[in-house]
């Protein structure tokens, strides 16, 4: 299977046609919704509380709709104007930004109660321009993300790692930027259902029990 991020940069790959096809595909819709719900669960937010959340690589708002349904207020960032246009057309509630997160994000310290990202992180590891250095882009991204999160808040990234090296690179940069946490692999023995969630903690919540990496789903099944 060829990986879309090898074909073209995200803002080119997700042109008007692709953005619409992607968003109206019911299989993609239900997978994205399921992963967004799982990411939200892993965020471990206080129950019945409206939170201020960030959606990194929000695309056409498929994950944002889940945040809307769960009554959260959110800000979505994406590099593809076509995807954002579809999000506008679908009238999602979140505030949308045209942004390349590899250039860093500009929110004041402690802004967000949590961040989710569905199927976007692997795009950040590409070098689409000569000046792109994946490691320094990851570093800029994670360091500015860390600052924008409330102490103890989590960032959950569902992604499709290309190989172990890529996983290690992402984790090591995140840890160097101050994050704690690790990888949760749901249904590790199922070829179809296996999903990777990078669970990062922006430090610990003062006076609370130390945060542990959440339990993966379906570890005993095959």
């Amino acid at each position: 299977m060829s990986r879309p991020e090898h074909k073209a940069p995200p803002e080119i790959f997700y042109n008007d046609d692709e953005a619409r096809k992607y968003t109206s595909n019911s299989r993609i819709q239900s997978i994205q919704a399921e992963m967004a719900l799982r990411a939200l669960e892993l965020l471990n937010l206080p129950e019945n509380e409206t939170c201020f959340l960030l959606d990194i690589g929000c695309g056409s708002g498929l994950s944002g709709e889940i945040l809307d349904e769960e009554n959260h207020i959110w800000v979505g960032l994406d590099i593809s104007p076509s995807m954002l246009q579809v999000a506008l057309d679908r009238e999602v509630e979140g505030d949308l930004f045209l942004q390349d997160v590899g250039q860093g994000i500009g929110f004041r310290p402690g802004t967000f109660d949590g961040a989710i990202s569905i199927s976007a992180l692997q795009w950040l590891c590409n070098a689409d321009q000569q000046s792109h250095n994946p490691k320094s882009r990851l570093n800029r991204f994670f360091s500015t993300l860390y600052a924008s999160l409330r102490r103890g808040a989590r960032a959950i990234f569902q992604f499709y790692p290309e190989n172990d090296d890529q996983c290690e690179l992402i984790m090591s940069v995140a840890m160097r930027c101050g994050f704690e946490g690790g990888l949760v692999v749901d249904y590790p023995n199922s070829k179809k259902a296996k999903k990777y969630y990078l669970c990062l903690f922006a430090g610990q919540i003062p006076g609370r029990q130390k945060q542990q990496i959440p339990q993966a789903l379906g570890e005993d099944e095959s």
Partner: protein, 124 residues
């Protein structure tokens, strides 16, 4: 973009690290969109707001807020005041316009409600 988000936003150009907030609004077209009143969310967000910046921004769209956030901040703020805040923070959307960084003067355009935060190579 809602004003609550604008109050959290600062310039992210590479070497612009101080005095980079709030981004100055200009030539804005705003629109009001009703949304559910959520006093608990507002109370949670109050400590995160930069009040002076919000007062300044509100003035730019002809809304006058008290220059000092009323004392006894979170618990017993009256409903009336929270409703005013709700209208400003969550129901006021910037549809078109520009935001200028007070430090490096970088201009970020806003089109169809979406700020364009893309930097060019020398800025990133």
């Amino acid at each position: 973009m809602r004003l609550i988000t604008h109050n959290m936003l600062q310039c992210h150009a590479k070497n612009c690290n101080s005095n980079n907030f709030p981004l100055q609004l200009s030539q804005v077209e705003i629109v009001n969109q009703e949304t559910e009143f959520n006093p608990m969310f507002l109370r949670n967000m109050l400590p995160k707001l930069e009040w002076n910046a919000l007062v300044k921004t509100a003035l730019q769209i002809n809304v006058t807020l008290p220059t000092v956030l009323p004392e006894s901040t979170t618990d017993d703020l009256d409903e009336e005041f929270l409703k005013t805040l709700h209208g400003i923070l969550l129901e006021t959307h910037i549809l078109q316009g520009a935001m200028t960084c007070p430090n490096c003067n970088r201009v970020y355009p806003i089109k169809d409600g979406i700020p364009n935060m893309l930097l060019n190579e020398t800025e990133a």
